[in-house]
Symmetry: C2
Subunit: 228 residues, 2 copies
């Protein structure tokens, strides 16, 4: 390490906020209200402030730009992007974060954003501003891996949920169909993943489903294997 920095950069956080709506995986995007890329879709995010750590900044920006707050911040780093030419404004590095939320009321546009809305995660190229296409792909891949090894999927659900709702999350994120019977046994068998509340919930038609809450487990052992 050298005593004096040779270069200072702007340091930003960007957020890939994922949810499952109507069995589809969707991402929260904003329409940029300022240059550069005014009018283009982009991930929410912004610059760090004095005295702020990365997570503080991510939580704050999410609230400012989309009105989403108060959510138990299920936030983790994806990676940092710092290519010299990634931002036309100059030398700016961004630390990408992954956030997983249950289906929520429509977001509200905030500062510097002309609009905020959910968009389905498509395979193709959504044409986002900056290098946000790359960031989105990396974050979705990380979310898929996390579902295998951590109880993260429960974060996509409201605090109380049924096994079928949890299964819908896995099917949406992985893009595969899972056997409802075997899935039920697997997750209820994994210690600490979900705990029953004792209550029941009636679907539109059919037998009522038991209601569960998130369990204390922090890692899944053994992991849920994603079908090849």
């Amino acid at each position: 390490m050298i005593a004096r920095p040779h270069l200072t950069v702007g340091l930003a956080v960007d957020l890939v906020v994922l949810t499952v709506r109507d069995t589809r995986l969707e991402v929260l995007l904003i329409e940029r209200g300022v240059e550069p890329f005014r009018g283009r879709l982009a991930l929410p995010g912004g610059f760090l402030r004095e005295g702020e750590d990365l997570l503080d900044a991510a939580v704050r920006e999410l609230a400012e730009e989309t009105g989403i707050r108060g959510i138990d911040p299920c936030l983790e780093q994806v990676r940092t992007y710092a290519a010299p030419d990634r931002d036309p404004r100059g030398r700016i590095a961004t630390v990408a974060h992954l956030a997983i939320l249950p289906d929520l009321p429509a977001p509200t546009a905030g500062t510097d954003a002309a609009g905020a809305r959910w968009e389905p995660v498509r395979a193709g190229s959504p044409g986002l501003a900056f290098d946000h296409d790359t960031i989105l792909v990396d974050a979705v891949e990380q979310a898929r891996r996390r579902l295998e090894n951590t109880p993260l999927a429960a974060q996509f659900c409201r605090p109380e949920f049924t096994i079928a709702e949890l299964r819908a999350v896995y099917e949406a994120v992985w893009g595969v169909a899972l056997d409802p019977r075997n899935f039920h046994r697997k997750v209820t068998g994994l210690p600490g993943f979900v705990v029953p509340t004792g209550e029941m919930r009636s679907p539109h038609t059919g037998r009522p489903a038991a209601v569960y809450r998130r369990g204390p487990a922090t890692a899944l052992n053994p992991p849920l294997q994603r079908p090849a």
Copy 2:
């Protein structure tokens, strides 16, 4: 995103360089030659320069501070650390990188480093400078996970290696004993992990072992499960 950065920070890379020597997992540390923390052990690293991306900087710093170069840079990001008070010199963020190398000749001290040497990775607190204790723990954990899912372990070995050498890597990094027979079958059975060269190598005593090279696989399917 806001048009003008509210804060600029010094951006550094730090390197957790791991190797396996004599069946022990070791990390490359430097003795700091300048303040702050002069004389304390630390991870090699340094600031980004104009026009450099993160990987460029990591490769350059490794060469400058330890004399290690020309190695196929098996380098990946761990995460970014940006707590406001993590560096007494001011607001400095660092992107930690993980590097995996085969056993090499002793490193040479370079600029700003009074010395560079391998140290065993201990469970306790090595008392490194800055927040490097935390970074080291995170990086080792990432290395352990990578061994399960990627052919990364082969990077710990020289270009040509025996299955027993590869097994020694897993045992050192995971800190467990593995069954030589089952391990042999597993890795030779995984498509693309290792490819036989046809040559043999005689150990000090005993039957000669077949020599292998790294295969083309980039992910292990199915993953090698680490014993609980």
